[in-house]
Every structure is written in structure tokens, then in C-alpha cells.
Symmetry: C3
Amino acid sequence: MLEAIGQYVTRLLSELEQTLSIPTSFVVIEFLGTFAFALSGIRLASAKRFDLFGAFAVGLATAVGGGTIRDLLLRVQPFWTTNAVYFLCCAFAVVWVMAFRRQLVRQQNTWFLFDTLGLALFNVIGIEKSLNLGQTWWMAITMGCVTGAAGGVIRDLLLGEVPLIFRKEIYAVACACGGVVYILCRHYGVPGSLNAAVAILAVIATRLLAVRFHWHLPTLKGE
Amino acid sequence: MLEAIGQYVTRLLSELEQTLSIPTSFVVIEFLGTFAFALSGIRLASAKRFDLFGAFAVGLATAVGGGTIRDLLLRVQPFWTTNAVYFLCCAFAVVWVMAFRRQLVRQQNTWFLFDTLGLALFNVIGIEKSLNLGQTWWMAITMGCVTGAAGGVIRDLLLGEVPLIFRKEIYAVACACGGVVYILCRHYGVPGSLNAAVAILAVIATRLLAVRFHWHLPTLKGE
Amino acid sequence: MLEAIGQYVTRLLSELEQTLSIPTSFVVIEFLGTFAFALSGIRLASAKRFDLFGAFAVGLATAVGGGTIRDLLLRVQPFWTTNAVYFLCCAFAVVWVMAFRRQLVRQQNTWFLFDTLGLALFNVIGIEKSLNLGQTWWMAITMGCVTGAAGGVIRDLLLGEVPLIFRKEIYAVACACGGVVYILCRHYGVPGSLNAAVAILAVIATRLLAVRFHWHLPTLKGE
């Protein structure tokens, strides 16, 4: 049974690799990133005592919400509709939360790392997809931010919370930094794959440094 | 005046019958289902002291929200944009709530029945629309759930509540059961209309049994 | 620096004028309306102590949200994706709130006026865009309301509030009045530009009179 699922997921991942024409390492990162995003939604849902379906739905919305809004705005087919791997990834995340409930706090740093990796990769995927569709540079940066950050906004709305990224975390700004780096590299003729790697590093660096040194944006003072 | 409205609605319904090419009984169920969905939104809005416009808007969002999200994800024209009957149905539901305010509690069981009928029919409409557009079986089941359940999520968000279906009701799961039954019947060559009938019965049975025997999904324990 | 930005904005505005083929005065009104919409989002965000990015995001969602939902429902390219002026306008609104924090209360009436002007113009833009795409008259009125009012609903959801326009303000109803006036004028053969002007005046008059005389819609009584 488990073996059959494993083979099925492997097949889906290799299809994904062909469809997106990205290297294997990226497919693995995308899978881990999706898993980490789903996990963040499911954990918050379980804290609010959602049932199994609710937790799965919030996890899925967190993981694929950003890319879905990007695809709707770009008027292309939502990316998750052609490959079942995203659904399986979220279902797997629900099982993980049920099985390793007590260990999740200890795994915190691991998931933070995967979440950051996912953010960086989703950002670059959003940027490249937009540019390939002939969008302008500022639309590409925006769509990169939307891909990375909108899932978390949907998650917080479904949980009845004011979106976290509007108040505290350097999250969308990390995406924007990565986007600017990508566009600048491209402008100065850096070759495509190096481009992506530098942008991914920029996002990761910005986020890790922000968390390490408690950076945050200035808060607007109320009247 | 009333007669003229009656004739207009009858004409719209017969147009709908031709457009969707579904039997008359289904058009009547769709009308009653839309009405029951709108009613649930309007009643909750009136409990929050929304004004007439707010109640109408929430009713409309509850009734057509699920199908709209489905159509956006499938990249086809939103179903309610070509026939004014859905708007009239919601306006009629507002009038109903104003006129029969005191009787609504007594009518509870009737509306629960229509709501369940509507859920079952919307689910099958979502499944068939997806399959006709060449989507995979798992996308069809998902789009069936979205058609049936997303309207209620939008309703709860507009009312400032955490979506009910994430925490308590067997609602989306009833849709998923109906979807699996539909796909299995189709796989084993059951003819089209019987297919739909069996799936509709599966949704109704799941929901009624769940309410009768207080079934609910396990809740995820928080950390 | 400031001069360069000024020249850039002027160029974007003149491009907008050509794309939309509307008179210069309308482009100026659209800019002021967008600014006023963004300002309302940013001020409420600052009252909730959002950071700079959050305030910008809420301002942008308020300003372009209604038109975006309209364009998604009509299945055309979101209007703000082809011209950077809307982004600059929102960024400028953030700077304005930071610079003139203490004066904003005194500027209240000015911004209320621009907000009303924006509402009226956005409404007519929504109506005309829908009619040009071959939609029916009731869809045009609906899309006019969506263009004018949905931005405020998104703003309130992002801020964790129950949407204001569902409970208090004559806002969407002013749009609907303007829409009915537009459609009636068109039906009786009033020439196009006069049509738009009369509808704009109808929206402004409805809203100003509603605020002046404390008009509001009846509230639905809860059960």
C-alpha cells in the first residue's frame, strides 16, 4: 500500500519535472515547500480545533492559494489542476500533524527552513512564469510576491485572523528583494539559471537575517 | 404586477432548462436550492443587523459563490451572468425573510431539506461541468465540493465568522462522498442520468444520516 | 528626483488616456479617486498598526480590488496590470499618510469628496466596460456596483472587520442608482458622454444627500 503510494507520488513528481522543465532538485524543493506551507495552515487550524476536512482545506489553501491568485490574475490555468501531487502533499501533511503532534515543536527549525526554501522557490517560479507570459518587470516582481505571500493571507482570513504578514513578518518584502535582484541580474545579462539561484539566495538571506536580527518594517502610526 | 413577475421568472427558468439541457424537475430543484442557500445567508445577515443591501449581497454570495469560484478556476463564464433568475431568486428570498420573519423557525426543517437538495444538485452540476470540460476525476470531485461548499465559506467570511464547515458540519464531506459515488458509477459504465441520481441520493443520505446520528469528523488536537 | 517621478507619472497618465480613450479630466478624476480609495485603506491599516508593507497592500487592494473582481468575472485582463500608475498612486498615498498624519483629519471633507468622485467614475467605467463587452443591462449595473464597492469589502475583510457597506453606508446603492440612470438614459437614446455625466452626477447626488440627511436602508430584524 505505502509502496504503491510512493511509486504514484514519484511518477507525479517526474511528470511535474517534465511539465515545468526544471531540475530535479527544484521539484524536491517545491514538494518540501508545499509541505511546509500546508503544515503551517494545518497546525494553526488544529489550534482552532478545526476538523480533519477543515484542516486539509486550510492547508491546501495555504499551499496553493498564492499560485492560484497569480494564475487567475495572469489568466492561465491554475497550476495545481493538472497534477494531483499538491493534493497528496497536503493530505500527507495532515497525516504528519496527527502522527507527530508532540514532535512538531522540536521540528520547528526544520520546518522554518523548508518554509523559507519554499517561499524563495515559489517567488522565482512566479517571476519566471510572469516574464514568460510577456508581463512587465514590475508585474513579475508583484506576481512573485503574490505567489509567495498570498497563501498565508488566505490562511489567516480562513482562520479569522488579521493577516500576519501585514503586521509583523518580513515575508512579502523578502520576496520583493528577491524579485528586484532577479530583474537586475536579468537586466545586466546574467544567464537564466544563475539568475534564479541568486534570487533564491536573496530571499533566503533576507528572511533569515530578518528573523535573526528582529528586523521589521516601521509601523504606521494611527491618527 | 405579481403575475408579470411570475411570467418573467417562468420564462427565465425555461431558458435555463434549455441552456443547461437538464429536466424540468432539476430546474425546480436548482431554484429551490438557490433560494435555500440565499435564505441561510440572509438570515445570518439579519441576525447581525445588516441592512437590506447587505442582506441581499450576502444571500447572493452564498447562493452563487461556490459556482463562481468553480467557474473562475475552470476558466469559463460565471454561470449566473447569462440568466437573471439567480438575482431574482435572492431578491425574493430577502422579501421572504421580511414577510415571514416569525414563521422561519417553524419552516426550519423544510429549508434544511431544500438546502440539502440544493447541495446535492449543485455538487452533481459541478462534477458534470468539470468532466464535460475534460478535467480529471479528482478535479471533478474537487469542483463538486467547491460548487456545493464554497458559498457557505464566503458567507461566513463576509459575516466575520470562522467558516462553519471547517469545524462542525458534514457538508463538504457529503459532497465528496457523492463525487466518489458518481466517479465509481461512471467508471463501471452506469448510464449518465442514473449516475447523477445515485450521486444526489448519496449526498442527501450522507448529510441526513450525519445530522440524525450526530456524526462528525475527528477534530485535530492542538499542540 | 521628484521631477523625474513627476514626468514618469505624467507619461503613464497620458498612456492611460490613450488606452481608455477618455478625456483628460476623467484621467485626473480617476487618479484622485484611486488615491482617495487607497488613502481610506491605508488610514484604517495604520489605525490597526499595520507595517508599511501591510498598509500599502491594503491600500492597493482597496483601490484596485473592485475593478479586479469585475475583470475576473468578465474574463478580461485586470486593468492595473498594464499601467504602473495605480501602484505609484498607492505608494504616494502611503507617503502622504506618513507626511500629513496630523492634517488628515482636517482634510477629511476633501478626501470624502474625492472618494465620492472616484466612486462615481469607477461605477461608470464598470458599466461602460461591461456594455462594450456585450453584457446585459443588469450585468452592467451589477459590474458598476462591484467596481465601486467591492474594494471596500476586501479592505474590511483584510482588516478583520465586518464590511461597512453591508451595515451602514449608502454606497453600493448610490452605484446602483447611477447604473439605473445610465441604462435609462441609454434606452431613451441620450448620447454617450452626456449619459456618463448624468450617471456620475446621480451617484454623487445620492451619496451626498444620503450623508447630509442621514439616509440609510432599513435594517433586517433578526429572529
